[in-house]
Amino acid sequence: MKERTRFERLALPHLHAAHNLAFWLLRNRPDAEDVVQDAYLRAYRAFDDFAGEDIRPWLLKIVRNVAFRRLGDQKRASNVISFDAAVSDRIGGESAALQVAVEGPSAEDILIGAGEQALVRQAVAELAPIYREAIVLREMEAMSYREIADLTGVPIGTVMSRLARARAELRKTLTRIMTRDESDAM
């Protein structure tokens, strides 16, 4: 009981971070909420293993593991054959990307010119999961390369190249969307 109070006091403040990561990996709210609940349960059961001072990376690591397992299950379930998980996530990803895009701005947001945000959301959603993950951890959680490397279990060099690749993709996608929108406007 005391243990649970301690866990809640440490872990619940990071619920938004956990949800955000899960949401960007799964790209829809119901799955993200499931993943967060599962991850918190796992974290609680493994709480004895937590020895560090900062619980956030430890917690997010569990979240991303649960989320990637869920993604793998989805991939098997939809019977999409993946030659390169990093790239082929695009397949069938369009509708999910659009869903994420409409998650974004409210009517007011658009009024104040935040329609741009919807485009950015869509661009992120179109990235492959490992690039999405790198972007979320770096840009939204402001983690260092070292922290990201520990969390995702890859070398720092890989984090760096994933981020570079992700940003290049984002730039390309945003350029594409914007020029398309401009041509639509005309």
Binding site: E8, Q37, E139
Partner: protein, 252 residues
Amino acid sequence: MQCDRAAELIGAYLDQELDADTRRDVAAHLGGCPQCAALADDQRRIGRQLSALGRTPAPEHLVADVRRRLADASAEQPLPRLLARVRGLRWLRQAAAVLFLCGLTAAATAVLMSRLAALATLEREVAAAHVRSLLQDSPMQIASSEVHTVKPWFAGRLDFAPVVKDLAAEGYPLAGARLDYIGERRVAALVYRRRLHVVNVFLWPSADVADSAPREIAHRGYNMVAWSKGGVAYWAVSDLNMAELRQLQAQL
């Protein structure tokens, strides 16, 4: 520094994740290359846009959902712990099971051995009684082929009334009867003849209620057939061949 190398490093440069030397090199390159400087600007802008997105906030009910799951989990936790503790004692249970099996086997063996020993003893006693009867002047205390003479003779000598049959018609004439002592009790001994062979049939009330099929035993040249029928144990013993002994057995 080449442009493609710089392009690789721009992100890390903006993230301030480069060591001092590399950072200086990239900065120098950006200062002299408008194309890469534009790229850096683009990335800086995209970075700002991404940070501006902020986290996608969790719905309000999620905190409550998570807390409920945790409460459920800690409520059910004592059981797994208990199981773990019992599992920890698994070796003890296994040891107990092994000991129990050992005990069972030993007991069963003891019972079996004692029964086998008793049977072996019985065999010897029956054979001895048969031989002893032949050492006497006569194996019979009452010599009669008359069932109604022999059967009443047992009355008062035994605590049971043996079934007595004359099997002269089948080629096994009844010669008579006597009392004998086998397995620490008085038993009836019926004497039949087959040509020159003497057949002793011992019978006494059996401990086994169920009838048992005839068992053929060869003991020091004597053939024996043991069976039980109607709560009576029968032992037929003779130097007669087993086939003819079985014929007699079938009539009794």
